[in-house]
Amino acid sequence: MYAILLKFIKKHFFIYLSGILLLISVGFLQLLIPQILRQATDEFSKMTATVSSISNYALTIVILAIFMIILRYGWRMLIWGTSRKLEKIVREEFYKKLQTLDSNYYNYHKTGDLMALATNDINAVRLAMGEGLLLITDSLFMTVLGIYYLININFSLFLAVFIPLPIIALVVLIFGRLIHHLFKRAQEGFAQLTSIVQESISGIRVIKAYGQEEGELENFKETAGDLVNRNLDLVRIWGVFTPLVQFLSSISLFITLFYGGRLVIVGAITIGDFVAFHAYLGLLTWPMMALGWVANILQRGKASMQRINEVFDQVPGIKDLPDVNKAISSIYGQIEFKDVTYQYPGKEKPTLEKLSFIIKPGETMGIIGRLGSGKSTMLNLIPRLYDPGEGEIFIDGHNIKSIPLRVLRKYVGYVPQETFLFSDTIKENIAFSFPHSSLNSIEEVLKKAQLYDDVMSLPEKLETEIGERGVTLSGGQKQRATIARALHINPKILILDDSFSSLDTQTEEKLIKAIIEYNKNIGCTTLIVSHRVSCLKHADNIIVIDKGKIIQSGTHDILVKRPGLYAHLFELQQLEKEDSSRYEES
């Protein structure tokens, strides 16, 4: 992150510099105007002004104003524009970085937190590099120059008048922090209200069915009341802030009138000095506020930068090592696990313990086991979503880590347990790896996943948008779409992680049978996790996993005959079937 920032500043140094120079020029010209007023007033007071002299003054002001338009346009475009550019680059780099981070990172970092970095924190960095820069320049340059002019007019008046000004900076500094904090609290209150209403409406059917309206209303009132309090807490402070700053700058005017008026009367300064003093004070209030803001903005920017940095500093856990074998450009599909152990960070016990097995190319392996037995974790190791802690995995005899990641993943088709599709068209979702592939290839995999007819009956067919808007597919259709997506890459290894839970038993069995047969023909190694024994019986080999260990393995016919978990599950499911058949006979 700091590297990005440094590179950016280096590259845009002259733009920033010219922006700052323009800004300083504006300030300089702005501070000239009171000088004109000063001279004019003095001439008016002495009645030495002439029509030509006042025309000159007026004209000078007009010319200054025209120059200032151009300069102001310039610095705004340069400073604001560059800060937006920085925002763009940081956001893009941030996204790029996210793409390199592995699944374990995402297991421990919530989407919401990462989103907060991408929105609030990047914003804070932009503010620091745009507004912050403006405020620093303004507050330093304008203050110094302004003070110089004031001292030039009368030192003792300057001292008197200047007392309240640093207080303005202090007020802005302190209140700025307080308001920021209270504002965040109010926003959180609003978010709570939103989520409670969201819950209530989503669950309105349950609430009505159980007659719980009153209780819900009470909850709502409580949260809405809390929001009112949080908002009022904010208003109590924020309501003081603006009038207070106004009051403090008016105090300076009061001193000008009180003490400056006296000085004019006793002849220490002229009436022109008095008017100029007044005008300078008007111009100094803003830099004083800026001085207060800038500390907050820079501090927030720095904190945000540190948070973003944590992401940029993250070393991707899964990546090609320097000794990767670049000669490997394809794989055949033999898989070997050798004493593989995996333990999630922060967990007490390993999820997988000394797992060993071999699958030959084109074979199908069924995997069965209870919830949380480690099946998914095991499958995740094959496309290297995780790397094993101990033991080794070999693909075609190569250590998995020696195969370039891109090659490995190119040939592994993965259907996760939780269906995830993107809010895009069906076509885009199926041809996910190869966005520019032919319609034919898409239709073909749709047929294999037995989704073709469903898609063709949709109004927009392949172009149908799924996701938030438009037609939402049913659970079963979504699962078949994820299967089609995996088939579309023509995998050499296909992984089905309990991918059929929304389908009924018959459809699941039919689909699995078809996929196994097809894969056998083309020589694609297949791994299938299912809860149903009947779905696994076509597999060449089955392993039963319990608590991270293989407790049984063999073909269906062998396992059924052996006492153990497999036979037990088989009996249970068989009973269900017989239960149903009884009706048939009665």
Partner: protein
Amino acid sequence: MKNLREFDPERKAPDMVLLKRLFFFARLYYKTMLIALLLITMSTFIDLAIPYIIKIGIDNYINPYNIIEGVPYYPISEQRLEEIKQNYPVLYRSLENKLIIKNDTYLLEQKFILTLKPDDLSRLRSYDLVNIVNISLLFLIMIILNFLLNYGHTLLLNIASQKIIYDLRVFIFSHLQALPFSFFDRNPVGRLVTRVTNDTDAIQEMFSNVIITMIKDVLLVTGIITIMLILNRTLALVSISLFPIVIILTIGFRLKAREIYRNVRTLLARINAYLAENISGMKIIQLFLREEENHERFKNINTLYFQTTIRNIRLNSVYRPAINALNSFALALIVYYGGKEILNNRIEIGMLFLFFSYVQTLFRPIQDIAEKYDLLQSAMASTERVVGLLNEPITITDSTNTIGLDLAKGSIEFKNVWFSYNNDEWVLKNVSFRINPGESVGFVGATGAGKTSIINLLCRFYEAQKGEILIDGINIKDLTLKDLRKNIAVIFQDVFLFATDIKENIRLNNRDISDEEIYEAARKIQAHQFIEELPNKYEEKMEERGITLSAGQRQLISFARALVFNPRILILDEATSSVDSATETLINEAMRILIKERTSILIAHRLSTLESVNKIIFLSNGKVVEIGTHSELIEKRGFYYHFYNVQKFD
């Protein structure tokens, strides 16, 4: 099939009607609002008075010269002259021969005054010194007062508007709760949430900020213009001459800015949506090697957003400096014309100063009003949407004379019931059946046969068009909704879990249900074991609809919910989705416990469910076609037998 009419946010209501509805909610707080308005008016007067005080200070005390034939003279009263003569004879002697008398006033030329030493000046002008202290103190009082007034009105307005919006929110929310199911079928959740939260927020903004600021701005502008016109017509007209340009520029800017800003917001929302989706689906992106393609797409939206923000910056970089420049032009005009007025001895320096100050404040309210106008518009649009929601009729409600029913025996009867969701296609046609207390009945039929509609009518989620539905012989329309639903518990097909913990999901908001009762219910249906295995047990939070639980576990929680409410009538819409076999056994087991000793209606998909019911009612196309026990219907070899066989061999 269902009525697709949504409550139309575009439906136009006249602004006055809308405002009337709004001000109905404001009525309780009108006193506070009036006081706030009074404070604001006072503070506006002070805003106008402050520069005028300085003007008086300058013209009367600091620079009180009379111009005679182009020469400034200091007027000195006879009384002060007398005092100086007595107290400071040296000073008196030095100015004695410089005194001029014109129109009965003693005058000293300014040139001479400026040659005097400070000590002499403070002696000569001691009245001025006293007066400048007095007027400064007046100034101080004014700014203190202004501070208090400003703080006061901000606080009052916000207190009032927060309370108004609280009332409004509670009102909308309870109205929403009372709306029938058919309303929720038509309207997506997100939209309704927006009505209760964001729309009311826009209205709150209007009450606390928009209306009042606009009033203040209008007061300020008219005040300044009026005073200027009274004081000096020429200078007033000169000052206002740039006004039309400011207005036109501001309107033009606003129109353009609104459009750009809308784009900025849409694009930002797109970026964030894309990013959020990509973060959630990063695993898939990586597995399918989609990194580059998605990066390219992200870059495109990001660049588009960047370009739009630059357009926004450019617009502002033209407008804001232009307004600044206009301010300076006005200053130049005043220097020029005001200078001439001074040369012609028509005004004094203080007046020039006053016009400077007024012109500096004159342009800001215009920008302010333009900004607030946008807010006002969005607040009106929000009001319209909220009023649209409030106008939605509550169609299902208690009748005027209800019969109390504390604990039903549990008999159910449908008598010639006709029902349609959209008054177009009958979903139930002349349905009649009777269920005795304690009986369990299974409803069977193809999708769309009307099974779920029967549940919907029995609970009065929808209202039948024709016919009667009786519980314990009482028409359900004569019962209060509360009594009716107290006696019935429904288990829906798709289990809904709230984002609270498991305990709260079982008892919902019913404080009368103790923890012990919850544990007992969970034990009975054998959910206790898996709940105890969760990290936080019964306090485990159900995030995002309980995705951490399996379908079967969620179903068991909904069973526990029904059991703990101990209803006389139980309705179960069985889920079709498959659960693993171990859980399936648990669920069947739990179901048997649930239906014990109550009247129960089951919409059955599993054959094992049908085994345990007393009676089966077969529906086809909205009609009851067969009633009987399982074996009776099999023997009959009619609809049920056929349907059942088809399902079997599929």
